[in-house]
């Protein structure tokens, strides 16, 4: 079963590549079905197998000194993040980032003018950081150095950690969200969102293989999105209102599970009652 990927934008390869590296290091035996698996793109450490980068000059044999185009774009975008609070998610920020790397600001021409790649790069980076954090946490629990958290605490902490990564950029985040919702960005942004939510559930210990798999992810996505929106309008110290909102929403998620069970048992009790009545009458 594969996740349908839209034709990947080249800078997204870098982020996908980064994710794949951290995935390959973290996953258990049988990493075959990572959701980004169907994406092409050479790993920077390996000999080039995939699409050849454009500035390798003659021959094309990629040695370790040569940087692929993806890597370069990746570096520029990372450098550009520093300028986002001032310039927003724009080509100006990218130009400034390029300058700090010693490149001409014309390097910003490599990217779309609406800042899409910058935002997607940032989101992908945040997701990777989150995965690494969750992986670390899991290791500590496995080594017995930390207590396993109850499910609601785990979900709260994971979502909070991920949302806190937005804090330095919170002023310009509404702009970023609206760009992520542009039709040509939706496949990528949706992909990033769903894989992040899937990651959180995986580390939370979700082992469902039935329709629950979908309900849990849908519900958590809702929690994440609404909390994100609340955060954008929150002016309380250190966003306490947002975290309280999050706590309530996660509690709802937990209740939902037990409510579903209650509905089911009530239904079953009803049926049994009816059968009993039918038997008595007949």
């Amino acid at each position: 079963l594969r996740f349908p990927l839209s034709p990947p934008q080249r800078p997204l390869h870098a982020s996908a590549v980064l994710r794949r590296i951290s995935d390959e290091r973290q996953k258990e035996p049988g990493a075959a079905s990572s959701q980004f698996d169907s994406g092409p793109g050479p790993l920077p450490e390996q000999e080039s197998r995939g699409p050849h980068p454009s500035y390798t000059g003659q021959g094309g044999q990629e040695s370790e000194d040569f940087e692929s185009e993806e890597q370069l774009q990746h570096r520029i975008l990372t450098a550009a993040l520093e300028f986002v609070p001032e310039h927003g998610w724009t080509a100006e920020a990218i130009a400034e980032g390029a300058k700090t790397l010693g490149l001409s600001s014309a390097a910003a021409g490599m990217f779309h003018s609406d800042g899409s790649e910058l935002i997607l790069h940032f989101v992908s980076q945040c997701n990777t950081k989150l995965s690494e954090m969750l992986e670390q946490e899991q290791k500590l629990v496995q080594l017995g150095e930390a207590e396993k958290k109850p499910m609601d605490q785990f979900l709260r902490d994971a979502v909070e950690a991920r949302l806190r990564m937005l804090i330095p950029y919170i002023e310009k985040w509404p702009q970023a969200l609206s760009i992520l919702l542009l039709p040509h960005n939706i496949p990528s942004s949706l992909n990033l969102l769903t894989s992040m939510i899937d990651d959180i559930w995986h580390y939370a210990g979700d082992q469902s293989t039935d329709f629950n798999w979908y309900t849990r992810r849908a519900v958590l996505t809702g929690v994440y999105n609404t909390t994100e929106l609340v955060m954008l309008q929150d002016s309380s110290p250190d966003f306490e209102d947002t975290w309280r909102f999050l706590e309530n929403r996660v509690a709802d998620v937990m209740n939902m599970g037990s409510t579903a069970n209650q509905v089911q048992s009530t239904g079953e009790a009803l049926v049994q009652g009816l059968m009993g009545a039918a038997v008595t009458v007949s």
Partner: protein, 136 residues
Amino acid sequence: LLQQMWNQEKEHLKKFNELMVAYRVRPTVLLPLWNVAGFVLGAGSALLGKKGAMACTVAVEESISSHYNTQIRTLMEEDPEKYKELLQVIKKFRDDELEHHDIGLKHDAEEAPVYSVLKKAIQLGCKGAIFLSERI
């Protein structure tokens, strides 16, 4: 006998559920539909009598064995070493299913009412289910 076959199938189900979690695979959205369809098929063919149920078994096991074989081929083409364990699991399950298939035949599946029509219909349904599940 049925109990034995049922136990083996339960074991298959359990193993696949474990594999799904280990490989972090997304379950097909149609799963609830298949649950219902499977139940209806089983109950329906049972209503046709013992031979009907056996005919259903034969049809389904044949479809499943061929599906397993396709999977084995795909995995072998990709990387037999990497998938060694998985291949072993699938091969064992395929052999189990073939055994069920033979048991079905032994118990007069072919004498069931409208055997060939029934078998074709069931196999068509199975193929369709596999096709859709691989995509959605």
